[in-house]
């Protein structure tokens, strides 16, 4: 197996174009189609420099959802006039104003958050004034406990609501789509080795079938996962995409998705005779899967019942849905266990069928004179 890895690495060193191009294309497409920014919302904020407005500002700054630029009230008014798509917030001691041209979901959510912060601060001030700082500590402790319970309840409810994040939609969609090619092209080495006779040479050198398949598949798996991790890390830490604190969950889901795509690619190559046939089929299927799996657009906007029913056939659907749930909807891995289990069991099934068919086909190769 070490030998197979070494040969594949040498091959990758000489032909790195597939990996590089698929990674770069994912970054470019996701970056361009998400509007060239991360999914944190840019806010322009001016305060009256009172302690209350400063505390509200700090509270907003602590949230990953916003990129905040602080300026004076005059500057804010000027910028809002010039850039009509910007969102500005004027924070005073007892009031606040949200300056925006349109009344969007974002504006409504923002208003609610600011209002809630003001209420909390006012409540705190009242408690301290009436009963002292120690009483507030007790009240705050009680509130936090209650809040944790409420949060859990609200996340269960919110999973039923359609939430959309353009940046994550583009990132996840293109990442899942392009990695399909990287993995498939790598898995095709099995077919190529069988066609050229290298596979037989290795078998005759007493390399077991398990070692042969495991060597090739594990390499394809690592390359696919590497590409996904690279893209995720670039978007999270360089471009600054907000993943709603679900970064590690995205990584875990990626590992399941790569396994499924690898198994699917193996299944495809077991049905065809040549690498070119396999490339054509994989290209067609990748596009189809991306469409029905919600990589290009959210499935919530699809009306056709037929198309929606077909989503279960697409490996991209399982990946896309899990990614969205652990990020935008804030669910835990347990919340997407159904998707993860489906990916795992489908992968095992496709691997078993693929290897069986490939072995039968191999015997045919020996007799093709």
């Amino acid at each position: 197996m070490k030998g197979i890895w070494l040969a594949r690495l040498q091959n990758l060193k000489r032909k790195p174009l597939v990996l590089i191009s698929m990674t770069v294309m994912t970054v470019i497409f996701a970056f361009v189609l998400s509007g060239g920014v991360g999914s944190s919302i840019p806010l322009l904020v001016a305060t009256d420099h009172t302690s209350i407005s400063q505390e509200v500002l700090e509270s907003l700054q602590r949230k990953e959802d916003y990129t905040i630029t602080v300026m004076t009230e005059e500057e804010l008014q000027e910028v809002i006039k010039e850039k009509r798509d910007s969102i500005g917030i004027l924070l005073n001691e007892k009031t606040y104003s949200v300056l925006a041209d349109i009344d969007s979901d974002i504006v409504r959510k923002l208003s609610l958050e600011i209002e809630s912060t003001y209420n909390e601060l006012a409540f705190r001030g009242q408690v301290i004034a009436e009963a002292g700082a120690s009483k507030w500590e007790q009240v705050e402790k009680g509130m936090n406990e209650e809040k944790a319970f409420l949060l859990k309840e609200s996340s269960m409810d919110e999973s039923q609501v359609f939430r959309y994040d353009g940046a994550l939609q583009s990132l996840f969609g293109f990442m899942l789509y392009f990695v399909f090619y990287t993995i498939s092209i790598n898995v095709q080495f099995i077919l190529e080795d069988k066609r050229t006779g290298v596979w037989n040479r290795l078998k005759l050198a007493s390399i077991s079938r398990f070692q042969l398949y495991f060597g090739h598949l594990s390499f394809s798996y690592i390359i696919g996962l590497f590409q996904m991790l690279l893209v995720i890390l670039v978007f999270r830490f360089i471009i600054g995409t907000n993943m709603y604190g679900g970064l590690w969950k995205v990584v875990v889901i990626s590992s399941f998705y790569v396994l499924l795509v690898m198994a699917f690619s193996l299944f495809i190559i077991s049905l065809v005779k040549t690498v070119s046939q396999s490339s054509v089929i994989i290209s067609l299927l990748a596009v189809a899967f991306a469409m029905i799996g919600g990589a290009y657009w959210p499935l919530e906007i699809v009306q056709s019942e037929g198309l929606l029913a077909m989503k279960w056939l697409s490996p991209i659907y399982y990946g896309m849905e899990s990614f969205k749930r652990v990020t935008i909807y804030g669910e835990t891995l347990t919340g997407v266990i159904t998707y993860l289990s489906m990916m795992f069991f489908l992968a095992v099934l496709l691997l078993a069928v693929g290897i069986t068919l490939l072995e039968k086909r191999t015997e045919r190769y020996h007799s093709s004179e």
Binding site: A7, Q10, R14, S367
Partner: protein, 309 residues
């Protein structure tokens, strides 16, 4: 010793190989001759343990390789019809890869790689990427990859297909040298001259069956033990024909247009006598061709078809 007993291979209902019996002794070079589609590759796949026969058995040193393929695999070198190499790797990297797979490492791997590169005449191109090689060079490297672990038996499946005459000659020389060094060889080809040159014993296959086997001489005897002499001459006369017939009473002498055909047993060496008779009869011979049967004639005789049909 490699022995195949009643090998049969069926794919679904189609029988591609039936009732194959073969034997290779240590140090022997055996040819498997037959047209494309005769079943040669399936046969060698079974002999090399890559494919399980539907029925029958293969033994290597009296051990069944159907049950214990490892017994053969350690000592077997195989040169497939395809170029079984990584095109993106250099010649040296390819050999190192296959050497490593066979358990060679360190100094031994380096030495063996250099030795093989020298043997196949690719030392000066060892650091070049294989996809830049000519067909002949790739074929030579294909052979080299099978020799790294010093096999005691080498199976070659049409190793000279699609290459230029110069490379072909080089490969044949290399194989001949291996045979002289004591390598047991099973060589499949549809080029009868290659099999004739390299092999002591020949099996002829057609439509999945062995239709004849023996030494070259034994096989040619199947066609005829006669030789035919074609004479072209000035002033051919009936007196000359009669004189020839009188000198060689076992021969048949006949004239076809301006060529005189003399058919007689192979054991006679008649040319000197024919030239003397011609001189006596004032006949000037311009050309004399002695024709003995080839393996091509044997195949034609056995199947009614030419070998390359």
């Amino acid at each position: 010793m490699l022995q195949a007993i009643n090998l049969q291979k069926k794919f679904k209902t189609k029988e591609v190989v039936c009732n194959i019996n073969m034997q290779l002794e240590k140090g022997e070079s055996v040819g498997l001759l037959g047209p494309n589609g005769a079943g040669k590759s399936t046969t060698i796949s079974m002999l090399s343990s890559l494919v399980m026969p539907t029925s029958g058995e293969v033994f290597w040193n009296k051990v069944s390789i159907n049950k214990n393929p490892e017994a053969l695999r350690k000592t077997l070198g195989i040169v497939p019809q395809e170029i079984a190499l990584y095109p993106e790797l250099t010649a040296k990297e390819n050999l190192a890869f296959f050497g490593r797979i066979y358990g060679l490492k360190g100094r031994l791997l380096i030495e063996r790689t250099e030795e093989i590169l020298l043997k196949i005449g690719l030392s000066d191109r060892k650091n070049d990427i294989v996809k830049t090689f000519s067909g002949g060079m790739k074929r030579r490297l294909n052979i080299g990859a099978a020799l790294l672990h010093k096999p005691s038996i080498l199976i070659m499946d049409e190793p000279t297909v699609g290459i230029d005459p110069q490379s072909r000659a080089y490969i044949l020389d290399t194989v001949k040298q291996l045979v002289e060094e004591g390598m047991t060889l099973l060589y499949t080809s549809h080029y009868m001259e290659e099999v004739e040159l390299l092999c002591d014993k020949i099996y002829i296959m057609d439509q999945g069956e062995i239709i004849a086997y023996g030494t070259k001489e034994e096989l040619k005897l199947l066609v005829s033990d006669n030789q035919t002499i074609e004479l072209k001459a000035h002033l051919l006369s009936s007196a000359f024909e009669e004189a020839l017939q009188k000198q060689f009473p076992m021969a048949s002498v006949r004239k076809e247009e301006d060529i005189l055909l003399i058919s007689m047993p192979k054991k006679e060496e008649p040319l000197a006598t024919i030239f003397a008779i011609a001189a006596d009869n004032a006949v000037t011979i311009t050309s004399a061709i002695v024709k003995i049967p080839s393996l091509e004639d044997v195949f034609l005789h056995l199947t009614g078809r030419a070998l390359r049909d």
